[in-house]
Structures are given as structure tokens and as C-alpha cells.
Amino acid sequence: MELIRGKAFHCGDFVNTDVMSPGRFEPYTGPNHLASIALIDYESPVPFVQPGEKRSEFTVIFGGIEFGCGSSRETAPQALHYAGARVVVAWSFARIFYRNCINMGLILPIELKHPFGPEVLGEDVVVDVEARTIDVKGRLLAFPAFGPVTNIIEAGGLTKLNQQAMTRGATA
């Protein structure tokens, strides 16, 4: 697996799916639209996506406790993904958001009690999924294996895993 490189964004605790992809934008979807509203109601010194833009300059989000709490809406991880995020490193995740990340295969959710605060914003980050390390400007953090959901991540999401199983079933 290739290395994931990009700049860091920082979030606090309890970042909810309402601020990631607010209900007031329903029923509008599509990659460009979702990218433009990613984290739009989250209050931060620097917006995740600049107003009027469809891409974020940030690839790795460092979050706190219960990242992704609230609604089950899949537009939340989709919005982050379409804006260009690839990894969220959080102290803990809300379970539906975590499931969506793993099963959709769009965002890699890494649960880790990382030491970073707001000062990490804009730092260069390299995530090595195979070696399970996160390099923030030379500071190397190790993250644990994904355990029972590893096979879903490796397949590229739950749908791909089920497709593989169905194909095996059909040819068996």
C-alpha cells in the first residue's frame, strides 16, 4: 500500500456529522457539492475548505473524543473524502461514523490517543498503513492493527468484500 502524504487539520472533541454535512443542504449531493460543505459548520481558526472552494488543503484530520457523533448520514465521510481527506486520527470514534468509514472504504479511521493539539495544523504528515505509523514532521507514532475489520479494509470496503464472497460462492 502506498504512503499517504499531506497536511494536517486539527479538530476538538465531539465533532458531529451535522457540522460535517449539515441537513440544511439536503437533498443536494454530488462530489463537488459535498466537498464544498465539508465541515462547514465546524468553528475553527482556518476552515477545512475555503469558502467557494471544492478541495481542502488538508489530508489528515487529527480529532479528539467521539469523532463523527450524531446522525448516520453517509454524506459526512463522503464530504471529507471528496474534499480530499484520506485519514482521520482520533482519540475515539462514534460507532456509526466508524462503520461508515470502514465499510465505505473512503476514509481510514485510526483510533489513537495522539498528543497533538491545534499547533499540528498545516504540518506535513506521512501515514504508512502497512507499517502502521504516522510521521508528523519527524515525530513517529505507531498505531494498532485494525483487528477484526482488517479484512474489510484490505478488500476496500464491505461491498467489495461481499462481492468477492459472492463470486467465490458462484464459482465454488
Binding site: 465531539f14 449539515p22 440544511r24 457523533c69 450524531g70 456509526i96 465505505m104 464491505l158
Partner: protein, 420 residues
């Protein structure tokens, strides 16, 4: 065999196991599931793309479809989502379909009303408030679109076996104190991650004696503490409710004596007082007795959603308003959560009483609760709402302020014009 909780027994039964252990991942067969209008169009496209243009769902009898979030259509795209649902229901022969019309309503309420939720079963929805079904001794949990698309194809989904928090409540609630006050107090105490990945199992005579709808309110909001599901043993009232409409025979489950809970929280019902969650978190909870002194003026009182617009919720509001008129400068919006409830309110004269007090009755649906349409607040406006979330922007405007309270608190606030 290690003692099992009722949640564990349901998961074990549907994973073909005698017993399960916390933390293990199971492949679980699903008894009943649903999706709704904001999700179905995308799910339908992905379903045919992933599993073939002629793919069929695993069992059309175990899928329900609802129009509740974007009805009546606010624009052409919303209507297109409803039409995609018409198409999918026909293509897949799904009979449990509740489009905008005489039998529609908010998904969780109609799921229960129509007998789709049965004790001892695994019930999933593409909506986080699917935890409501624990009121009927079912394992109810919310999942995302891709999870549900895979359930539609296979009838199975993976689940990690949760640890269980026991919330035990004994005694009699004081006059004017409702289930909403209990759940707000709990979320305020344990926080938005207090039950993360865990089950909240409610026990005690207060729970056994509670009305069915009040049990639903308690389970509905466990997700605001991060819980995977909320559950209760079947009470006589809940049994009578499900037996009326049950579509299959069912087998309730009980927690084994000696089961080890991860945590036990005990309340005396008499100690619970009316509570309100202040902006912008359902865990930012304060007693109404303290807020009353601040005279927090509200421009809107909203009685709606899967949490706070069932028959009893609205009947409480009408009873407390009776003979009086709401305060000048305050709007009272009442959105019954289903057409069945709407009809019962009309037949019982409750709608007339609300109208006399100055309320506006809107058609059923998710509406202002999640901010997509109907009842959006202006900048700096405040709303006391019987709904479930008050995150920044939740009700459609990030510059507005939402306070969550019980239907009784909503009625008092509408009369006073400030949180009371």
C-alpha cells in the same frame, strides 16, 4: 455458560450461537430493516451497480421504505428522491412502503405502529435513532447507507458484541417529569461518549410501569450518549402494543441473573426534575429550575420528531396549554410524528385545543428537527424543542440556538415565552 445480557442473547440467536463474548465480531442475520428518502436513491444506484442490474434484495418482506425527511417535497430534487423510492418498491416487490399520503410518518414511529418491530429481533435502519426499538425488547441500531445496501443484498451484517451499561430506575416520577427529563439527565451525566459502542439496558419498576411511548423516548436518545442500542425487558404494556400488530410470532429475551454489567447507574425517580440541554450539545444539560431564573426568551417552540411528537407527547402539551394562549412573540409548531397519530389527535379533539391556544399544526415528517425544511430559525433566534439534537446548525441555521426539553417543558415555555 457465562451469563448473557438480553442484547447478547439476541445477537447470539441471529449469529447461530449459544452464547457470545464482549468484543468479538459476529456475522448477524437481520430480522427487519428500513431506509428512507434521503438515502434510498443513492442506495438504489449503488445496489444495482454493485450487485448487477437485475439484482434482487434478499427478502422483500423484511425491508420497509419510508418518506419522512423531505416530504412534502420542498423542491424537484426532493420529489425525485420520492419517485426513486416508488420505482425501487415496485422493482423489488417491497410491500411495507409508506410514501407521503394517508399512512406515512416518521420512520421509527411507523415501524413500531405497523408491527415491524418485534421483541427479540434484530432491527436496523439507516438512521441513528433506530435505537428506539429497544423499547420493545428488540436490538435496534442505526447504520449507514453502504451497510444497509449490503444488508439488502445479503441479509447479514457484522457487529461487535457490546459491553452493557445498566441504568436502573425505581420509584414514581414527580408530576410534570417525563422520560425526556430522565434521558437528558443521563446524557448530561455520562456525556456524549458515556455509552460509546456500548448498550444501555434500562431496568427497574419505573421502566416496567412506564407508558410504551415514554419507553420509546428513553431508548430513542441513547445514541446521544454514543450507545449502540438501548434495551428494556418487555413490559405488559409493550407486549399488548406489539401483539396488536405483530407480523410474526416473537420470543422476548431477559438478561441472565449474575450478568456482569460494565457499569451500573441508579436513579430514584423522585429525584429527577425537568431538564433542558442548552446549546450546542445534548450533554450540556441544566435543570429547568436553574434556567427559569435566567428568563431565556424563545421565539419558537417546536414539538416534533421521532423523539417528541408521539400521541402522549402532544396530548401532554395540549393538556398543559388548555384554556390559555401562548405568549406573544412565540411561535408554537406542532408536527405529529405520523398520520395515525395525527388522526387520533384530531378524533380526540386535541388538535382543536392546540389551535385554540395559538399553535400551528404542520404535516408529519422530520422537518425542522434536522434543518432541511420547515421551521428554520433566524439569526440569534432561540428555540425550545422536543427533538433530540441541538448541535450548531442542526435546525438549519448555525447562528441560531436550540434548547432540548420535554413536551411539558415545551408547553410551559410556550405559555411563558421563556424557558420555564
Amino acid at each position: 455458560m457465562k451469563p448473557q445480557s438480553m442484547t447478547h442473547k439476541i445477537l447470539a440467536r441471529r449469529a447461530g450461537r449459544q452464547a457470545v463474548s464482549e468484543g468479538e465480531v459476529l456475522d448477524v442475520a437481520i430480522d427487519m430493516c428500513f431506509t428512507h428518502d434521503p438515502v434510498l436513491e443513492g442506495l438504489r444506484e449503488a445496489f444495482y451497480e454493485s450487485f448487477g442490474a437485475d439484482a434482487k434484495v434478499w427478502d422483500p418482506e423484511r425491508i420497509a421504505l419510508f418518506q419522512d425527511h423531505l416530504v412534502p417535497a420542498k423542491d424537484a430534487i426532493s420529489r425525485r428522491l420520492a419517485m426513486a423510492m416508488d420505482t425501487f418498491a415496485a422493482e423489488q416487490s417491497i410491500k411495507a412502503y409508506y410514501p407521503y399520503g394517508e399512512n406515512y410518518g416518521v420512520c421509527h414511529i411507523v415501524m413500531c405502529e405497523e408491527g415491524h418491530v418485534l421483541p427479540g429481533e434484530v432491527v436496523l435502519g439507516t438512521d441513528s435513532h433506530s435505537v428506539t426499538y429497544g423499547a420493545f425488547n428488540a436490538f435496534g441500531s442505526g447504520v449507514g447507507m453502504i451497510d444497509m445496501m449490503n444488508v439488502f443484498a445479503t441479509g447479514h451484517l457484522w457487529f461487535k458484541v457490546p459491553e452493557v451499561i445498566n441504568v436502573d430506575i425505581r420509584g414514581t416520577l414527580r408530576q410534570g417529569v417525563l422520560a425526556k427529563d430522565i434521558i437528558l439527565r443521563l446524557i448530561g451525566e455520562i456525556g456524549m461518549d458515556g455509552a460509546s459502542y456500548r448498550t444501555i439496558e434500562f431496568t427497574g419498576d419505573t421502566i416496567d410501569d412506564m407508558s410504551v411511548e415514554e419507553r420509546m423516548t428513553l431508548c430513542n436518545m441513547v445514541v446521544e450518549a454514543g450507545a449502540k442500542n438501548g434495551i428494556m425487558r418487555l413490559s405488559p404494556a409493550a407486549r399488548a402494543y406489539v401483539e396488536k400488530m405483530a407480523r410474526r410470532p416473537f420470543e422476548p429475551v431477559m438478561t441472565d441473573p449474575g450478568f456482569e454489567y460494565a457499569r451500573v447507574i441508579r436513579y430514584r425517580a423522585e429525584d429527577i426534575e425537568p431538564m433542558v440541554a442548552c446549546p450546542h450539545s445534548p450533554a450540556n444539560v441544566k435543570p429547568v429550575s436553574a434556567l427559569r431564573k435566567e428568563k431565556i426568551q424563545v421565539q419558537q417552540v417546536y414539538v416534533g420528531s421521532c423523539t417528541g411528537a408521539k400521541f402522549d407527547d402532544i396530548a401532554v402539551v395540549a393538556r398543559m396549554l388548555d384554556g390559555r394562549h401562548i405568549a406573544a412573540g412565540t411561535r408554537l409548531m406542532v408536527v405529529p410524528s405520523s398520520m395515525q397519530i395525527y388522526r387520533r389527535l384530531a378524533d380526540g379533539g386535541i388538535i382543536s385545543r392546540l389551535l385554540s391556544a395559538g399553535a400551528v399544526i404542520e404535516s408529519p415528517g422530520c422537518k425542522a428537527c434536522y434543518g432541511a425544511h420547515g421551521g428554520v430559525l433566524g439569526d440569534d433566534e432561540k428555540c425550545l424543542s422536543t427533538t433530540n439534537r441541538n448541535f450548531r446548525g442542526r435546525m438549519g441555521n448555525p447562528k441560531s440556538l436550540v434548547y432540548l426539553g420535554s413536551p411539558a417543558t415545551a408547553a410551559r415555555t410556550a405559555l411563558a415565552g421563556y424557558i420555564d
